[in-house]
Each structure stands twice: as structure tokens, then as C-alpha cells.
Subunit: 191 residues, 2 copies
């Protein structure tokens, strides 16, 4: 059985990924070490840099996975994008709702990039996107971050009104990790 | 005569610093190479990391200076802070004014951190802060970034309504660079 170390300090993210990994018979452990995040408009660059940095730091001898994600609002030219967690900590959900006040185009997407670094399998990148819209007001108390104001296409609920299992049917993070786990499953079957 | 390479792609910043340097008899040249900016809540960390990265990259054989600055709005918990240029590119001045709509506490400050790396003098850090407030609407067309909505204490004009010389009497960047130039002047006198 393969073991993956998920580098994150975010318990909410970890729980989502852990729930998913179980369905694939993969063991995921949380690795709480500081990663170096760069400023870049493309979260793929942020995730790649962070993953390589951590992989070096731990001595390239463990399977690690780093994820970076962001909420991109079309009417705000992609804001808050790569800086979603900083924006959440400062102006928060109410700040986003205020910025979206009187704006008709409420379309937005969440994007996640997953980077896997492995002594055995090398480096591999997976992406997931979920399109949807910014709700008129915050609803729900599950999940984390901007979940209470994002309604994915195909649902009338916000992410914060969904259980982890339901959110994983839609979410950018679940899509990226499913792609990763399916690929990994195939690789392991070959060896 | 000592020559300093100012690592920036921002012509507006360069002009401000060039104007100031002349008063100290110091030659400043613009060095347009990519610097690596990290995500950090403290711009001091961003500037230090970027300066060390560039200094290594050029072979540690030139005097370089890197500056990082941000606008910190108290009612927005410091937003946009270290990500001021990204926020300027996305939600812009109108986004900030919208966020500040109906907010009484309009106090804010600009902070600049200047990091000098020199084969001769080592590493040295200088800071400058200017307190002020967010204007009710944008005024002026000089300067760059959030200058049209920042009114420094001791003035009724926004930074964008001031000439470079006038802005340099108030600005965070000018304060940090004056401290740097005065220190450098002293060091050169000794050698």
C-alpha cells in the first residue's frame, strides 16, 4: 500500500482529500511543514515551486503532494485568484460580496493544482476546475474559505451547504485529486 | 562615485528613486531582471528573499537594491498589503473605493522596505512608512498604483496630485531610500 504525505496546514483540505483517498485504497497523511509560496498569477507555478521546495527539504525520500487552489471571479479579472487565502483573512466573504454588489456577471470558477513528487514516480501535475457563480449572500457552515458564497454548476447549494462527500462530487480539488489517484492506481498496478 | 542597480520593472518607482539619488550624488541604474517574490504577510520577508535571490543570480558582484511596498488599510485588516500590485491589476482603485464605501475609519499607511546587497558593504535593510487616509474619490494623474486615493498626513492632496519632488517629501519609499542613501554616504566617507 502506497503512502502519500499531503503538505498542508489546512484541516478542511486534508479531510476532503482523506475521504477521497480511502475510496482508492491510498493512505494520505498530513505533513505540516512550512512550504514556500511564490507570488505568481498562475497557481500552477505556485504549486510547482512549493512542491519542489518541500521535496528538496525532506531529502527527496518520501511521496509528497502539494496543492494550491484559488477562486477566480470573472467580473473582478480573476481576483482573488492565487491570493484567495490572504483575501479571505482580510476582507473576507463580506468584502467579496461588497465588490460583487450590483454586478450582473457573477460567474466564477475554483481551480486546484496538485503536484506530486515521488522518489519512485518523479514529478506529475494534475488540475481540476469547477465553474459556478458567486451567491447573492453567504449560506451554509461546512467547508472553509469562500465555500459559503460559491454555487457550482449543477447545484443550487453553496459548497458550505454540502457534506464532504457531496462537495467532492463537484469540487476542483476532488477532480484534481481523483485524476491523481487514478493515475497513481494505474502506476502501482504496473509495478 | 558608487553605482547602485535598482531591481524593478516599475518606471514610476525608478524615477522617484533616481530623483532622490541625485541629491546624494549617487548613481542609480534600473536593472530589469525577474525577481522571485514570495507570498508573505510581511513585505520585509518578500524584499529580503527577492534581494538575496537576485544577488545570487547576478554573481554577488554588483551593488543591488530591491524594494517592496504595500498599502495597508486598517479597516480592511491590512488589505491589500503585500499584494497591492495584484489587487491594483484586478479590482483596482474602484474596487478599493467600493470596499471602503460607508466605512468611517479611512486610515491607512504605505510601507516600503529597501534591501541593499553589496559585495563591499554586505546586506542592509531600511524601512519607510507614511500614514494617511483613503480619499473619498480618486484624484490626480501623477504617480502610479493607488496614488490617486492616498492622502498623506500633513497634506490635502493625494499622491497623484503631487510632483515627484513633492511626493518625495512624504512618501514611504522616499523615507526608506533617504535612510539608505544617508547610511551609504556615511559608509563611503569612511572608506
Amino acid at each position: 500500500m502506497i503512502k502519500i504525505h499531503f503538505v498542508t496546514r489546512n484541516k478542511g483540505k486534508f479531510r476532503e482529500v482523506e475521504t477521497l483517498a480511502k475510496q482508492y485504497g491510498i493512505i494520505v497523511e498530513q505533513l505540516e511543514i512550512d512550504k514556500l509560496e511564490i507570488q505568481a498569477d498562475d497557481i500552477r507555478d505556485v504549486a510547482l515551486y512549493a512542491a519542489r521546495y518541500v521535496f528538496e527539504k525532506i531529502g527527496r525520500n518520501k511521496n509528497i503532494v502539494v496543492e494550491d487552489a484559488g477562486l477566480f471571479i470573472n467580473a473582478l479579472r480573476g481576483f482573488p485568484g492565487p491570493y484567495s487565502s490572504y483575501v479571505y483573512k482580510t476582507i473576507g466573504i463580506n468584502g467579496i460580496l461588497k465588490l460583487m454588489d450590483n454586478i450582473k456577471d457573477r460567474s466564477a470558477f475554483f481551480k486546484a493544482v496538485v503536484v506530486f513528487e515521488s522518489p519512485q514516480f518523479g514529478e506529475k501535475v494534475f488540475e481540476g476546475i469547477v465553474h459556478g457563480k458567486i451567491a447573492l449572500k453567504a449560506k451554509g457552515s461546512m467547508g472553509f474559505g469562500f465555500d459559503p458564497i460559491f454555487i457550482p454548476e449543477g447545484s443550487t447549494k453553496t459548497f458550505a451547504e454540502m457534506s464532504i462527500e457531496e462537495k467532492n462530487k463537484f469540487s476542483h480539488r476532488a477532480t484534481a485529486f481523483k485524476r491523481f489517484f487514478e493515475w497513481l492506481h494505474g502506476m502501482i498496478s504496473k509495478t
